[in-house]
């Protein structure tokens, strides 16, 4: 029988999506509650005192950033925990002994992260409409930046799961890397307003480009050239994908 990588991919992806839906109270509900609290506190309670940012209400300004923050967190944590969990209970060996190629393995696990993050993103957007009326001005930017961000952070989660040796290692990266990247990436402010050195640092933060581009899709205003942000995110995602496939080919973190 001719080997079909498509069937292998569908098998891994289906298993991931089924797991997400089965434990939806752990995978879909928490980010929705967290982001709703942000809408209430920063949007309704504090937003009115802050005034306008970039020509619109503060609540309206932070909505895209909060949606993408949920996308980032869900994509990363889903793949990191699922892949490390499979490593930990050794069920990953079921895939490793089979003729599954590195790209199929990566695509299968990341599909789970992309699915979860996009579902969370859509729900958070719907919830945001109860607090702040939003309009989408450039749909392509909303779709492109949400998908490319979901792919990038799913792969970053995979990288984390690949090198993690214990559960603590899966928790450390979100705390010490992901959270600073998110908060310094312009969720709550326009990075164009950052003073000298902080503005330079923000230019090295991939999330700053993703949030800026995603926000452009809603507000029509971007702090950095939109094409530049789109290309930057595409290149970063491609480089990370190629690097992960090279690491998987060597079975880094998966072989003794």
């Amino acid at each position: 029988m001719t080997y079909s990588p498509t069937i292998a991919y569908i098998t891994i992806a289906r298993k991931e999506v089924t797991r997400i839906l089965r434990i939806w109270t752990q995978t879909l509900l928490p980010p929705i509650i967290t982001q709703s609290l942000y809408f209430v506190i920063f949007g309704a309670f504090l937003g009115s005192r802050i005034g306008e940012v970039g020509g619109q209400s503060y609540a309206g300004f932070i909505v895209p950033g909060l949606i993408l923050m949920a996308v980032v967190t869900s994509a990363f944590s889903n793949v990191a925990s699922s892949f490390f969990g499979a490593k930990f209970q050794r069920s990953i060996e079921e895939i490793l002994v089979a003729p599954v190629s590195p790209s199929t393995l990566l695509a299968g696990f990341c599909t789970g992260g992309i699915f979860r993050s996009l579902v969370v993103g859509v729900i958070v957007f719907i919830v945001s409409l109860f607090f702040v009326p939003s309009t989408i001005t450039h749909l392509w930017a909303v779709i492109y930046f949400s998908i490319v961000t979901a792919i990038f952070f799913s792969m970053l989660g995979f990288l984390n799961g690949m090198f993690a040796r214990k559960f603590d290692d899966v928790g450390i990266v979100p705390t010490f890397v992901l959270t600073p990247l998110t908060y310094l990436g312009g969720v709550f402010y326009d990075i164009a307003n950052l003073p000298g050195v902080w503005h330079t640092i923000a230019r090295f933060n991939p999330l700053a480009y993703a949030i800026d581009g995603f926000r452009y899709g809603f507000t029509g205003h971007a702090s950095t050239p939109i094409l530049g942000s789109a290309i930057t995110m595409f290149l970063l995602t491609s480089v990370l994908g190629i690097a992960l496939i090279a690491l998987l080919r060597k079975r880094t973190g998966l072989q003794t």
Partner: protein, 298 residues
Amino acid sequence: MNAITLTHVEKTYSTGTQALKNVSFEVKAGSMTGLLGANGAGKTTLIGILTGLVRKTGGQILVAGINLDDQPELARSYIGVVPQEFNFSIFEKVEDILIDQAGYYGVPRKTARERADNLLHELGLWDKRTATARTLSGGMKRRLMIARALIHEPKILLLDEPSAGVDVELRRGMWEFIRKIHAQGTTILLTTHYLEEAEELCEQIVMMRQGEVVRNAPIQELLNELSAQSFVLTTDQLLTEGGIYNLKQKNATTWEASLKQGTSVTSMIQDFASHGVTIRDIRPKANRLEEVFIEAAM
């Protein structure tokens, strides 16, 4: 045609432990080969290398003529493996474990379901098909791993201690099933601690000691090499130590006798009877392969 060819295979772990030293042997297509060795001999490391879970540090491996380094995915598609330790998700349903495993090998879902149903029936797991794996007994989990290894109908089956921890009845049933798979043309490489199992099932024996192959021969050749076989006798009479049977007293009524190759047990019993000694019970001290194993690999 060889199913597996290992040439100068080496493995040194990052800790510096040299698990395999210049291991070379062949497994003929359609054969049943036993890989024997004490704990730490390198058997599981070798199985790990063949299945891609352990990285070799030297040598070459061909699986069905395909170089494992050049086309690892194609080479792995020929292999099914039953690992020593349980490595499935305990939260998944039994039938899902089988169908998903088939999917990883590119088997369409409809075909996978049909094969899973057959294997679940054959291995006595049909009633547990919708149960989660954690609810299975140890023997059932081991049978599930055998079913999982066969779901893609591999040409080569690697069994790493398949009957470890299962009761005698189940082990016998498992042997029958392995014989059936082998009769259908599947090449089998079996590692085991049970020498009785190897003697019962295998045609070729590879013995390993501290990462090296110390014997590789057809089982009959190994057994023929035995110059003598030891028996334990029970008699109420007092015997004299030594003699042609090299008798050694173990306790008041138990003696150990050594029977030279070519002498039958019946003639020994008759010989004792002719001297007025009645043997109440007689049994082999160890199975025959065990005696060869102790000599070669311990």
